[in-house]
Each structure stands twice: as C-alpha cells, then as structure tokens.
Symmetry: C3
Subunit: 343 residues, 3 copies
C-alpha cells in the first residue's frame, strides 16, 4: 500500500511543504529511513538527522526550521507519526474466516468479519463481535464475550466468563480468568476458596504478553477503559483498575486493591492487597505500596513514599559513610574537651 504525501497531509491534518506527489510506502526511524519512508523529528537536535536520512519526507513541528525534503508540519509530530504508522502497519492476524482446525461449540455467536486462526478452541456460550480476530492456538472458555474489533494474539488463554470490550488487544501467552490465590485453613491444610467471579475488560484495553489477570472471587476483577497493561504483569482477584492507567512490565497488584484513573505504575512495582491508590498517581519502578496512597503525586520506594522524600533519603544513604565519620570525629573532639575540663 502506498499514499501520496498530499493524501497523508489531509489524513493527518498537516501543512504540506514541498512535492505532494511524493509516494510514501511506510514509516521509519531517523537512522534507518530510505526511499519511500516518512520519518519524524520532534526537536531541533534531530533536524540534522532528518536532513541526512534517506527518507523521502519528514514530519516536523509547525514552527521548527525546515530540512531539504518534502515536509508535513503538525503540532504534535510523534502523534502524527503514530497515526501514519498505523496506516502502513501490517495486520498481525491477517486471515479469512474460520480455519478448519478450529474447534468451535455449536452455539457460539460469531460477528461478521471475524477471523479465527488454526487450532483455536471456543467453548459453548461465547459471543464474538464483528471483526474480532483470534490468533492461532487461542482458547476462549465458556460464556466469554469478545467486543467488536478486539484482537487476541496467538496462544492467549481467555478462561470462562471473561468479558472483553471493543477494540482491545490481548497479547500472546496472556491468561485472563485464572483462579486467584484464595485459601482457607482447615484441619488438613489450605482449602481452596472457589473463585466464582469473572474478569471484566473494558474498551480499548491492552494486555501484554504473558500477563495474568485472575477472575474475581465473588465479584469481578475489572480493568478500566483505555488502560494499557504491559507484559508479565499480575492483576489479582477482585482488583479494580481505573481508566487510562499504564502498568509497566512485571508489576503486580494483589487482591481487592482499587486503583483510580490514570494511575501509572513503573516496572516491577508491587501493590499489596486491599489498598487504594487514587487518581493520577505515579508509582516509580520497583516500589512497594503497602498502604493507601490518595494524594496525587509521584511516589517511590519500599515502602512507597513521596518521591522527593525517597530520593532525599537515597542521597543521604550514599553519604552514609561520611555521616559515620562525622559522628566519630565529633566523639573524639568531645573527648578532648571532656579531658581538658578534668585538668
């Protein structure tokens, strides 16, 4: 597929400078652009890279100096680039209809335009929306609902009663609807507390590779609309994650915790069970949240505290030796004084 630069200018609502007939076949990074590629430069220090690039055209901010190539000028070059890239992006689940090796229960409802790849299993009672694409080897358990335009990459497991909204992406190896870590002690050891709730994924959510989302114990586990979860995250039973949150890889949220909207967790963060994290809160990588955090801001550390405080302690620790030396010095001086006094 190709587009002319004029067509792209219109699509991106950009100001065209130079030859609108330039043919674009794809996007590229500043370092590896070639003929037919569109690149972008967000700031002036990338202008010379853009100039040297083999790319055929450049997306630039409205007001920056130009380069000697056809240009698309926009307010937000990275955003325009993302939209252009989307136009040329390959369909990772390209295919047609339902593959003959898929095993699909008789009563499954399948919307028009849906694609189901080889070795998929879809159990009874499932509803699959329009244009849903299900990759090879995916499992969809009983009574799941997949909203229109949702894509599920090869090998993801969507267990019974999971409901997924519109335009979601579930990546390979993700498990939705696993049974959470709920046990009761009886005289013979740990007795499983049956996990009877479901997983509820709202619209435009992304779930990364090998991420695990437990079903609720009784009520649901919820991931709010527009939230994006990276790979190898665990979201435990009955967690409620708000809208437009970002959760980076290898973070874990323990049972029944409630996170607000636009919460951001860095990588390898841990959040203990039954706590609340308010709206617009950012938790730095590797932090451990052990109690409620409600005031908007950036937090860091184990346990997590306001980042400024955490960094001050870290800085102090780096001079820990000096502190001890100071103390020793003081002790010696004091001794001298005390002895002087005895004289």
């Amino acid at each position: 597929m190709t587009r002319t630069l004029s067509e792209l200018a219109e699509y991106l609502n950009a100001r065209l400078e130079g030859d609108g007939n330039t043919v674009i076949k794809g996007v590229a990074g500043l370092e590896n652009g070639g003929p037919g590629h569109l690149v972008f430069a967000e700031n002036n220090k990338n202008l010379s890279l853009a100039e040297k690039s083999g790319a055929s055209a450049v997306i630039l901010p409205l007001e920056s100096p130009g380069v000697r190539k056809p240009l698309l000028r926009v307010e937000k070059p990275r955003l325009a680039f993302a939209r252009a890239a989307e136009l040329f992006a390959p369909d990772r689940l390209e295919g047609k209809g339902i593959h003959s090796t898929a095993v699909i229960a008789a009563d499954v409802e399948i919307g028009s335009g849906a694609v189901i790849h080889p070795h998929v299993v879809v159990e009874a009672g499932v509803k699959i929306g329009e244009n849903v694409k299900i990759g090879a080897g995916v499992f969809i358990g009983r009574n799941c609902v997949l909203g229109p335009e949702t894509r599920i990459y090869p090998g993801a497991k969507v267990l019974a009663n999971t409901e997924i909204g519109r335009s979601c992406l579930i990546q390979s190896g993700a498990v939705l609807g696993s049974e959470g870590f709920g046990f009761v002690q009886d005289e013979n050891g740990h007795l499983r507390m049956p996990q009877l709730g479901k997983v509820l994924i709202e619209d435009e959510v992304e779930i990364g590779a090998n991420t695990v989302i437990d079903r609720g114990a009784l009520g649901p586990t919820v991931v709010g609309a527009g939230s994006k979860i990276d790979s190898q995250v665990i979201i435990s039973h009955n967690v409620c994650l708000g809208k437009e949150c970002l959760v980076v890889s290898q973070s874990g949220i323990a049972g029944s915790s409630i996170l607000g909207n636009r919460v951001r967790l860095g990588g390898q963060v841990g959040i203990t069970d039954h706590v609340r994290v308010g709206d617009d809160i950012m938790i730095g990588a590797k932090s451990g949240v052990s109690k409620d955090i409600l005031e908007t801001g950036t937090y860091f550390g184990i346990p997590a505290m306001p980042a400024r405080k955490a960094f001050r302690i870290q800085a102090g620790l780096r001079n820990f030796d000096k502190l001890r030396e100071q103390l020793k010095e003081l002790e010696e001086k004091l001794k001298v004084l005390e002895e002087g006094k005895k004289d």
Copy 2:
C-alpha cells in the same frame, strides 16, 4: 443444582436457625447476594451488610447476634462458606472422554473418567490417573505421571518425566520441567549443563498461571504436598519446597535452595541459590533472602532480616533528615565550646 438449607446444614455440620426448606442455588458476596444465595459474615461489623443483603441465608459464627434471615451457625464461617461454594462451583474443565483432535501416543495409560480436551498432545509412556481432566492445548511430555483427580488448565505445558500427585491443579500457561539455568564456561563461551532430573509435584499442590518449575539438573525439583504456588513464580532446578507452603505471585527461588514446611513467601520475594529456609518461616513481600534463615519467625528486607529490625530501620530512615540535622547542630555546639575553651 440447588440444595435446601437443611441439606447444607447437614453437609457443613452447621446449626440451622430458620426455614430449612429455603432453596439455595449458589453463594455470593455480601454486596451482591440475591434470592437463592448463601452469604457469610465473619464478624459483627458485617452483620448489618448481611441484614441488608438480598441473599436468602447467612452463615454466621456460633455466638454472634443474629440477622432476620435463615442462618447456618458454625465455628468458622469462612471455612464453611468455602465448602458450600465448592458444592456450587462450576467445573472449569467440563467435558467427556477424549476429544478427536487430541494427539495421544499409543501406549498412554488413561484412567477411567479422564477428560481430554481439544488439541491436547500426550506423548509416549504417560500415565493418566482416574478422573484427571486436561484442558485444551495442554502438552504432556514423555513418561509423565498425572495422579487421580488432577486438573490441568488450558495451555499448561508439562514436560517429559514430570510426576504430579493426586488432586493437583496446574493453571494455564504454567511450565513444568523447563531446563534450568545451568552452564559451564568453556573456551567458546557458556556450555549448557544438560538438565537430566525431573519435577516431582506431590499431592494437593496448586501451581498458578504462567508459573515455571525447572526440572532438576540431576536429582528432582520437589514441591511438597499441599503447597500452593501463585502465578508467575519461578522455582529453579533442584529446589526442594516443603509441605503446605504458600508462595505468592512473582516470587523466585533460585537453584538448589531448600525450604521447609509451611513456609510463606509474599509477592515478588527472591531467594538466592543454595540456601535453607526453615519450617514456619514467613518472608515479607519484595524481600531478598541471601543466606540461610532457620529460626521460625517473620523476615523482611533486602537482605531479609527479622521483620521487627527491618521495620525499625525503615522508621529510622524516614527520619534520616532529622538525624543529619541533629548531627549538624551538635557540630555547631561543639565548635562553640571549643572556641570558648581557646579564650
């Protein structure tokens, strides 16, 4: 399926108060119970929730005040609730016999009542016990043994020579029998040390979603009876985990470490290789165990130390700034004294 409250009273060994003919069709949480639901309240502050609940009956402690609904009184309400919930819990691996798309070696022994779902692969020499249920897309490698009543959720991989006991649950995406991280340096780089041991899972063990258990290098890797492992845990080659342990998500136990019975690890804990952790030891979330811990108790921190000590240090750190101010103040006072002496 439904039960009358009288039947449940008998099953749970509970004291019935009120109408024994009340029909129960399932369990629910206090907030979302409706007609036909059984709920439970463990303590008095939940009594008013139980009262307001739409549920048809309530499990209460023996001695608490009552509510205006039919009651089941027991010593341990949560435990009784778990047992009742189990009665009504759906079979997540419902099915019959062996699906036609399963690929099963000719010599596999399959016990009566076993269920094998679509696209399963079972290699030669495998023994499958009675009433074992194997979910869609599961792989069972050569010479594995699956004890009776064991359930394996869709997409788990059980590699060659793994032995699993009776009534275990292996969740989706779990990998049992991977090759551990064993290499020897030779003149050309890292040479793999072949991993020839097996994985041995005793009775009533649960393995969470996407958890990985390496086979032993020479001897076995062992998970003791009744132990429950959460999701995304790694148990490395030759680890020996005792009985009735609880290991929360994203924890890792490095090679050859030996953990006792009833050990509990919080989330994201790391245990280094070749250490021992004694019976009844609790390690707090995010801790790092870098040497033997043998004395029963609760430990926390990186490196892990007795929790009381770790929390005291944490509290101290929070006042780190004050410490430095104190020191500065002392220095100034001392200076005054020293100067005074010179006069």
Copy 3:
C-alpha cells in the same frame, strides 16, 4: 546408548585410570549414582562422596587424590561432565518429519532433518533451517527465519519477522516479537505507537520459559550470540543485549537500553529505559539500574552502585540503631559540658 570408559576418555581428552572396558550408560549426581553411572568430583571434600557413590566411574581433577573406582582425569571436571552428560541426554523434541496436524503455509521452506510436532502453526514466508525441531503447539509467524539446529520447546510463540540464528533453544511459553509498551497521548487517551521492528536472536542463544522479547518499534530488538536468558525475563522493544550475556529469571530490561558483552544480571534485576551498561558488568539480584554504568565491575542496590559501597551501606544500616544511640549519647555529654561551662 552406552559407551565404554575408554571411548569417553578419548572423547573428553581425559587420562584414563583403571578398567577402560567399564560400560557407562549415563551420568548422575554424587548422591544418586548407581551402576553404569559416571559422576564427577571437583574438589577434595567431594572425594569421599565419590568413593561411597554407587557410580561405576568418576571424573576427577588431574592432580587430586584418587578413589577406588575407574577414573577419568581432566583439567576441568565440571566441563568434562557437561560434555559427557550431553552425550547421554535425551532428545526432548524426539520425532520424525512433519506431524499431520501441523498447519504449514504452502511457501514455507523446510530444511532437511527438520522435525515439526503436532498442532504447530507455521505461517507464510517462514524459512526453517536444517535439523530444526519445533515442539507441539508452537506458533511461527509470517516471515520468521529459524537457523539450523535451533530447537523450540512446546508452546513457545515466535511472532512475525523474528529471526533466530543457529543452535538456539527457545523454551516453552516464551513469546518473541510481542508489541512493546509504546503509546502516544492524544485527546482521547493513549494511542498505540505501531511496533514495526523485529526481533533478532543471534547464534547459540537460549531463551527461558515464559520469557518475553518485544519486537523493536522501528529497528530491531537484538540478543547477541551466545547470550543465555533465563525464565520470565522481559526484554523490551529496541533493547540491544551484547554477546555471551547471562540474564537470570524475572529480570527486566526496559526499552532501548543497550547492554555490552558478557554482562551478567542476577534475578529480579530491573534496568530502566535508554541506559547503557558496559562490557563485563555484573548487576546483583534485585538491583535497579537507573542510569548508565560503564565501568567494569559488580554493582548492587536500588539504585545500583558499586557493590562494595552498597554492602557498606547495608552493613551500616544494620547498625542504624547504634548510630542513633551514639548520637543521643553525644548530645547528652555535650549538654553536660555546656552546663559545666555556664558554671
């Protein structure tokens, strides 16, 4: 398969002492060796274990005291043992040709000796080298390249455009080519930045179970030749990992970071995005690297610092209480002096 000790001596370039006709059928650990087994002892304290072992022969260092069994003497016993073990190791992907349930696109090139197990899916444009073995349920996406002798364990997912070199091992549940965590804020929330790059795995690389390697955003994500990645690791988009690195379980490397050759990461390490880690650097378990580390050495801590410094701070913290007591004592002494002066 069996070998005589003479044959093994020649294969391992070892000095034979004792009966060269001893028949060896496998290797074992010192504790569990029996008739027909070859064991090894690296140091003198293991000699008595070797003596007591039921094994038929022992690999010993060139100069150690002997034991009363046939011996193979070599400079590096562990290395010789690894090579002997390799001879006897079972082929975990044993099989022949292409299984009838595999779904393979018409234009896939398959080298001689390749083995493809049940329920594998191979999409269009893929090139499979000689003697490649692909386990059950593996997915190979469009235009992937698998170098000769490479093995892929059951259930791994190799997504479109991934290139894997010669003699690699990809373990179960690994995902190569997932879409990294790249979003741009627009007026409606987080818009995905299409991930158009690929994954490039060089020769003799190992990827552990359930490890995730994102494709590059525009350029590639690279794992250098001879590097070994343990289980549940995440390597994010555009990371470049050098040659012969070792990355232990549950570590994560964030986007665009560049690691040199022979870098070693302990378990649960986190490396932030866009940093550089130089050659021959070792990062201790659970550390967090938040900025460039270029000087060769061992680092530890959150944030990572030279290990010696980190351990000194840790030791200091363990005596934190004492520090505060010292300070208090000083304050009191000073008060006495000050009051004395007033007199």
